[in-house]
């Protein structure tokens, strides 16, 4: 079944999904930890951390990509270290695209998760505590299940953001077919060719359809999480 897509287009869609999933999965633990920290704890520098987490939302993506290139390039401090110790490089690789997408997705993931953590009724946790439950048990049987829909919604939102990532990605890992040419980059690249309107239109519709599906899933999960309250998503 090809659904009318060409082999090249399937490669592009597959790669976009792979990068989106990798970015989402890799960011899930740190995003949750940050959301928990920001929702529950008071500590010096909280405002600063909050701002740093949200920075990718407002900094021009090309700046993020450029910083990634400086840090993770073969000449950069982290890139050189990764190469020397593990023999891996993120530059010009799909893993680099996933890293760029993950950083851009982080603020949206943390936001959604943080709201759902803040919505947990603390009295339920306190009740469990008076009944002698350990903190780990309270977390696993009360807090986590109650926050779960928000976590899933945040993850879907992060995924949706990841498959749309363009600026940081093209700056960091450029455009290599089958490796870093995701949907947005393929659209941009097709725009550079004369008489490519039909190809651009197909890819653009595909991109809208994917984003729409991811967003609607995220909204649906968020609504299920809070049937009476407002959406936890955007």
């Amino acid at each position: 079944m090809t659904w009318g897509l060409t082999a090249d287009e399937w490669v592009i869609v597959g790669l976009s999904l792979k990068i989106g999933v990798a970015a989402m999965v890799a960011m899930l633990p740190p995003a949750f930890a940050l959301a928990w920290l920001l929702a529950r704890r008071r500590f010096p520098g909280k405002l600063l951390l909050d701002t740093l987490v949200h920075l990718p939302l407002v900094v021009p993506p090309v700046v993020t990509g450029w910083l990634l290139l400086l840090l993770f390039g073969t000449q950069g401090p982290i890139g050189r270290w990764l190469m020397a110790w593990f023999g891996v490089t993120l530059l010009f690789r799909w893993t680099g695209a996933a890293l760029a997408a993950a950083i851009m997705a982080l603020p949206l993931m943390v936001r959604a998760m943080r709201l759902s953590i803040m919505a947990i009724d603390r009295r339920l946790e306190q009740a469990a505590e008076t009944l002698g439950a350990s903190r780990l048990r309270i977390f696993c049987t009360i807090s986590l299940p109650l926050a779960l829909p928000g976590i899933v919604a945040g993850a879907m939102l992060g995924f949706a953001r990841s498959i749309g990532e363009f600026g940081a990605t093209i700056t960091f890992v450029s455009d290599i077919p089958g490796e870093t040419r995701t949907l947005p980059i393929a659209i941009y690249s097709a725009l550079q060719m004369p008489d490519s309107e039909a190809a651009v239109m197909r890819l653009a519709l595909l991109s809208i359809a994917l984003s729409f599906a991811a967003l609607i899933l995220s909204e649906y999960l968020a609504r299920r999480a809070a049937p009476s309250g407002p959406s936890h998503g955007l």
């Binding site: 450029s174 455009d175 690249s189």
Partner: protein
């Protein structure tokens, strides 16, 4: 709060109105030019302004983006494209003033390496470019769509080197991004225009591709249909005059 917002809105409206009001007066022609022409056209606009004319308004981007803007009705006066294909595209769509198209300049293609890690390689048929790359990649503008990349692919194909390097190419959205990757030492080799290599202090030229290995690199300039600036045609003529060509030559373009 509402009063404040209303005031801010009023201020914004006023300033917008005054901007749009100010535009028709004393403005030079709007030139949409290929990114590789940035330094040369800035100098040309300065020279034109120094002769007492209103300074042309310059906008630089990839030729593809500019062509699309023109076809979408961008209020511009002149178009300077990095290749004939995009000028043809605009012409076919009926957006060029008849008889205003001329070739302004030419360029050549070079192989560059980071200044810190020079590469010795003689550019010829059967050159061991794959060995020179090693584990590294070759940076060039997208060989399917961006002019510099298309010329580069043609040259590598003519020299029989394309099959060796096709899988090692890093495609960039424009030629200057490829230059930046070489400057930063992220790739051992890159293909850029001779003028780009000349504008950078971070790269050294390994060698030039023979002119016979690719279609001639030409920059056509033309007036856009519907151009309203009375300075558009005089500025176009100035660019094509000996004085204009001398400026282009200073930045490494050929102007024969």
């Amino acid at each position: 709060m509402t009063a404040f917002l209303l005031r801010a809105l009023a201020l914004l409206t006023l300033s917008c109105a005054s901007i749009s009001h100010a535009v028709p007066h004393d403005r030079g022609p709007v030139l949409l030019a290929a990114a590789s022409m940035q330094e040369a056209m800035t100098a040309a606009a300065d020279a034109w302004a120094a002769r007492g004319h209103p300074r042309p308004v310059l906008s630089f981007a990839g030729s593809s983006a500019l062509a699309r803007q023109i076809k979408a009705g961008a209020p511009a006066d002149l178009f300077l494209s990095a290749d004939e294909a995009w000028m043809d595209d605009v012409a076919r769509a009926g957006w060029l003033a008849p008889g205003s198209r001329s070739t302004l300049a030419g360029n050549s293609l070079v192989l560059v390496a980071p200044r810190a890690r020079p590469v010795r390689l003689r550019i010829a048929r059967g050159m061991p470019i794959s060995r020179a790359l090693g584990d590294g990649r070759l940076a060039m503008a997208d060989p399917d769509s961006v002019p510099a990349g298309k010329y580069g692919k043609a040259a590598l194909t003519a020299l029989g080197a394309w099959p060796q390097v096709a899988a090692k190419i890093v495609r960039t959205d424009n030629v200057r991004s490829a230059l930046a990757l070489v400057e930063r030492g992220e790739v051992p080799l890159g293909i850029v225009y001779a003028t780009d290599a000349r504008a950078s202090t971070g790269v050294s030229v390994v060698g030039a591709f023979p002119a016979s290995s690719h279609a001639p690199i030409r920059y056509p300039v033309a007036r856009i249909k519907g151009s309203t600036s009375k300075d558009a045609e005089p500025f176009r003529r100035f660019l094509l005059s000996p004085a204009g060509k001398a400026i282009l030559a200073r930045y490494g373009f050929s102007t024969r």
